[in-house]
């Protein structure tokens, strides 16, 4: 049972473009929604995260938009750069339940062309 669905599977944009990655979840008890960035051969690293009490969070060029009623959230990367080329994972958890275990989406491989 895939509780977090992520799309698209892959994405190619030109430098300066705004890639958007979407995720949908099923469990309304989720209360923490992070995005992780992974470079080849490395472990995932937290990029940005949001709680369901806000609809948007921005950190630098990265923005999460959150729609609680639709059970969807998305990552926007402003002014994308070739160095942003990586795999991005959305995830969800219930913070104080079962160790706050994360349920991950399938991942999106982003390529930013110079």
């Amino acid at each position: 049972q895939q509780q977090v669905k992520q799309s698209p599977q892959s994405l190619i944009v030109q430098k300066g473009g705004i890639p958007i990655i979407n995720c949908a979840y099923e469990n309304t008890a989720f209360d923490y929604f992070p995005w992780y960035q992974q470079f080849p051969g490395k472990g995932p690293a937290l990029l940005i995260a949001i709680r369901p009490d806000v609809s948007e969070k921005k950190e630098g060029r990265f923005t999460i938009s959150f729609n609680k009623s639709a059970k969807q959230f998305s990552l926007h990367i402003m002014d994308s750069q070739p160095g942003d080329s990586a795999t991005y994972f959305c995830a969800a958890s219930i913070i104080y339940n079962q160790g706050g275990k994360l349920i991950f989406g399938q991942g999106t491989e982003l390529s930013v062309k110079p």
């Binding site: 599977q9 051969g41 472990g43 995932p44 160790g99 275990k101 994360l102 349920i103 991942g107």
Partner: protein, 117 residues
């Protein structure tokens, strides 16, 4: 701080062989996790631990066992490896601090690439 470290980095096993993957963290985190990563499937939780001496099953626990004898270490064991266990394995850890302004971040290790032939 080394953060989260994993050994070994690579391993090739024959079907039926056993091995143990070691995860160590130096951040004094209570919570530790083992995930496997397969193409198109994201990361899936195998087992996790909320403290020394405690473990629990995740989404895909079959064929794996774990132990948390020391707070800083979390071991993942494969008793009889199968080709379906070919994957990249990641360990992660997280603070259990519930004080205000805490980070819920899970810190990941660099991974172990395991091939079972």
């Amino acid at each position: 701080n080394a953060g989260v470290t994993q050994t070994p980095k690579f391993r090739v096993l024959k079907t039926g062989q056993s091995m143990t993957l070691l995860c160590a963290q130096d951040m004094n985190h209570e919570y530790m996790y083992w995930y496997r990563q397969d193409p198109g499937m994201g990361l899936r939780l195998i087992h996790y631990s909320v403290g020394e001496g405690t473990t629990a099953k995740g989404e895909v626990p079959d064929g794996y066992n774990v132990s948390r004898l020391k707070k800083q270490n979390f071991l993942l064991g494969l008793e009889s490896a199968a080709p379906s266990q070919t994957s990249v394995y990641f360990c992660a850890s997280k603070s259990s601090d519930r004080s205000g302004g805490i980070s819920y971040e899970q810190y990941f290790g660099p991974g172990t690439r395991l091939t079972v032939t």
